[in-house]
Amino acid sequence: MSESATLPAPPRFRHLGLTGYAGFLVVAALVVSSLAATAPAPDKLVNGLARLFAPSGLFTQMFPPDFSRIGPISWKLLETLQMAVAGCFLGLIFALPFAILATDRLSPHPVVRTAARAVIALFRTVPDLVWAIIFIIIVGLGPAAGVLAIMVDKIGFAGRFFAEAMEETDPGPQDALRAIGASRLGIIGSAVLPACLPSFTATSLFALEKSVRGSAALGLVGAGGIGVDLKVAFDLFNYDEAFAIILLMLALVVAVEQGSGWIRRKLI
């Protein structure tokens, strides 16, 4: 054990292989070429900033925020929050089984896993508009369709993040339960979910916050939402009112984040 005869250190890098290098080069080229097209000229930057703060500039027009309609706006925000909570709740509930089926370790069969992954990807890829048409036909205009629109969006989002959180957890406790003879459901319920809870909380509360911020889905099904008000404010150039809405949303976002942090601190 004590023979400290100077040993040669092992090689620094593992060989990457031709495809590895090729892939690396392609990505690098993509990034560099796109960056080259993006760099703003410094003088433009200065002019631009000056322009934003000029008397008719965006920022000048935004100040001071116009809180005169704070009542209806707050109400709308609450309404949006309500739809978002319901939609996220449904979405997350449905996302969980899909996510479980989509993980390497917990899926009953590779074919099932591939199918689950494809379905989750499909939920993400099918545009809002298509969902809107489907839900309008099935549940009609309004908040119910809004809830469903949020739901499908969340299945696609949370399904993926849940699956990834589950794959990242320490396999040790899961193996121990497997060796006990626990069923797949038992392993999920008693080892995987407890381990993923902080991550799930973060994902879920982000999803909630995103549903409140995101207007598109709700607007499409005629469910309103604060996002539509924000859009109207911008369309009519009521920048000061838009700013007030942004500030309210920011308050909500920060509040949700605080809540997320609080729950997670208890869990971690």
Binding site: A176, R178, A179, I180, G181, G186, S190, A195
Partner: protein
Amino acid sequence: MNAPVSPVRAEAGSTLVEPVLTVSGLTKSFGTAEVLRGLDFALAPGQSTALIGANGSGKSTLLRCLVRLVEPTSGRVRMLGQEVGALSPRALRRFRARVGIVWQKHNLVPRMSALSNVIHGAQARMAGPQVWGQALAPAPVRAEAMACLARVGLADRALARVDSLSGGQSQRVAIARMLMQRPEFILADEPDASLDPQTGQEVMELLLGLVRQDGLSLLVISHRLEHTLAFSDRILGLAQGRIALDQPTREASVPALRRFFDHEAAA
């Protein structure tokens, strides 16, 4: 140093009864590294067998292969009357339920209480959310889990989160979980590693008691030669991926076992 269970040394390697565990030609490689290179041995039921071997000699890997948590590269394992390699997923689960394992790294579920972790041991018998944690468990299960914790001296820490426990406490939770499983065969990977001398002794007595009084079979890995000698009927030594030592414990001694490790280091 009071040992209520006196380690009676039974006949080692007896093959008159059907072996409870038969390993034949077991090999396991990770990539190019051959860890196990053809193991052959059989264990008689109702015996305590100690497995010794240098660090990295493949003891833990062998344990994992026995219950197919890693698939052996080749070879056969017959355990508790079952051909382990041929079991369907369902049958494998039922088989695993009969084998209790104490892991070297404990492998407790973090963020949960000690009691919840012990209750998980009941998942071999029961299913559903009632055995996912202590909040939903039926009263008898909770009581049994408390009794298991009490057997390892941890009843007072039942509601502590396992990640706040000390090394030795967490080791004992892992043992309690194994007890909760009511196994027929116990595989214990260094159950005494982080225990203080007194507790280590008591835990080994507890395990041997299960063998002597309840007729279970035990395969225990330990680096403490005094435990190996005091609490086993037979000693197997693993070296270079093969069984390099196999003798009844009564024929073994500390210097002899040390020589096994010495010899191994020299090779």
